[in-house]
């Protein structure tokens, strides 16, 4: 019987080394539709890279990312402290197997901020983010591991939008922020992850959920409108120009506050993201 730790470790390795089929198809379609030879070359390289990574179970990118965990819990399932500990151990095991880039910062609060304490050479020493738990109707206990890289974290932004009772106002603001983020990211084509909620925490949680459930082949009108508008900027893969600055938008719109403000979390995910995989525990 496979242990929880081994299941989680395998899930993390898949997240860091594998493109899902909808992701591969998105690249194939973009290559077929792109007029710019430079952009096609970049996207072919990214797709070839994904095929090699999957075959070798090796990292898609040398920034292997920080593990972020999303746990779906059915009504008849329980989460114990022991399970959470096993998940944590599985993450460390997976980071060593991938292998993850050793980037756990050593030291006290100050040393971790200014990085004066150096790095832990053990890939497995990298702590995962806090687990996000979501109750679901399915009879399931399902963990999704997301590996979130540094570039998109630098360019991501969580901020208020005054909606003026217009969806267009919110979309336009997201598009403006996305254009700036995508152009500075470098590692495009991107996926835009968007969460809209009532507080910074809620918006960011919704953005995480968007990355967990997002599907390149199932785009809502809201998502397509954002993608199309950002692509008008002609930033292109690696910033070299072309129609495909963004391959898709994954958005999750939660409950909203009775006021003039919406909190929008936006992450311009890099060309490999969302790096994610799921496993039933």
């Amino acid at each position: 019987m496979i242990s929880i730790q081994e299941k989680v470790a395998d899930c993390l390795v898949r997240a860091g080394s594998t493109f899902r089929e909808d992701q591969k198809d998105a690249y194939r379609k973009a290559i077929a539709l792109e007029n710019s030879e430079k952009s096609c070359w970049v996207m072919r390289q990214i797709l070839d890279n994904a095929l090699v990574a999957e075959e070798r179970r090796s990292p898609l990118c040398d920034d292997t990312g920080i593990p972020h965990l999303f746990l779906e819990v059915g009504k008849n399932r329980s989460v114990t402290g022991e399970l959470l500990e096993q998940i944590k151990e599985g993450v460390a095991l997976g980071l060593r197997q991938l292998p993850g880039r050793p980037m756990a910062i050593k030291g006290d609060d100050y040393a971790r901020i200014d990085q004066s304490g150096g790095l832990n050479e053990d890939s497995g020493a990298l702590a995962p983010s806090p687990i996000l738990i979501k109750p679901v109707d399915e009879d399931v206990l399902r963990l999704t591991v997301l590996m979130l890289g540094g570039g998109p974290a630098i360019r991501g932004i969580t901020q208020r939008v005054f909606h003026k009772h217009s969806v267009n106002v919110v979309i336009d603001e997201i598009v403006d922020r996305a254009k700036e983020g995508v152009s500075k990211l470098g590692c495009s084509p991107c996926v835009l992850a968007v969460g809209i909620g009532r507080s910074q925490f809620e918006a960011t949680s919704l953005m995480m959920e968007a990355m967990v459930y997002g599907d390149f082949s199932k785009q809502t009108d809201f998502e397509m409108r954002i993608t199309e508008k950002v692509n008008e900027a002609n930033i292109g893969p690696l910033g070299l120009g072309g129609k495909h600055s963004v391959l898709a938008t994954f958005a999750k719109i939660g409950p909203q506050r009775a006021s003039g403000v919406r909190i929008v979390a936006l992450r311009p995910c890099c060309c490999f993201e969302p790096r994610r995989a799921s496993v039933e525990l």
């Binding site: 080394s17 430079k38 070359w41 970049v42 390289q45 990214i46 070839d48 890279n49 994904a50 090699v52 990574a53 070798r56 090796s58 990292p59 898609l60 990118c61 040398d62 920034d63 292997t64 991938l98 292998p99 993850g100 880039r101 050793p102 150096g118 790095l119 050479e121 890939s123 470098g186 590692c187 690696l238 910033g239 070299l240 890099c270 060309c271 490999f272």
Partner: protein, 168 residues
């Protein structure tokens, strides 16, 4: 596709134009923010041979080297972009990374018959095309130490040459 082998000759570089896709084969060096200023200092002090480093016709790949592999970091970080001119003067012919660089840097490259090439962050692919890797200087910097890689057909696109930039 233009096939290049290191060390790169003056003639091979002078024939490159923005947008050319090239393959790179041979030995190349790695370096990013932490190590490049130290390498410049070594070059200025005439001490590169103490480390067995030969920058004539060399390629500098802006990457860390970790168990996860290699992949370009942004070349427009201050410590990296400011290395283009002095390293080109000491013989480096190709700076390999990603991201837009300034017009001034593009001009300095042209003055030294050197180029900037953009390489996608395709770590798995690059890993399959890297056949040797050794630390040559500043091992105390860990994954930011200077390494010498032996590579086979890394693909890159010329991002700046002859005073022009692909980002213009």
């Amino acid at each position: 596709m233009i096939e290049l082998t290191t060390p790169l000759s003056e003639e091979a570089i002078s024939q490159l134009t923005v947008g050319d896709v090239v393959t790179l084969t041979g030995y190349i060096y790695t370096g990013r923010d932490a190590v490049l200023p130290k390498v410049i200092k070594l070059a200025e002090e005439g001490r590169l041979n103490e480390y067995g480093i030969d920058l004539q016709g060399a390629v500098i790949f802006h990457t860390a080297v970790s168990p996860a592999g290699v992949g370009p970091t942004s070349s427009n970080k201050v410590e990296i972009e400011s290395s283009f001119e002095p390293l080109s003067k000491h013989g480096v012919k190709m700076h390999l990374g990603k991201g837009a660089i300034s017009k001034e840097t593009v001009k300095k490259l042209a003055e030294n018959n050197a180029v900037f090439a953009v390489i996608p962050p395709v770590t798995a692919l690059l890993e399959s095309q890297t056949i040797e890797c050794e630390v040559v200087a500043f091992p105390e910097l860990g994954m930011e130490a200077m390494n010498r890689l032996k590579v086979v057909k890394y693909q890159a696109i010329i991002g700046a040459a002859k005073g022009r930039s692909i980002y213009d």
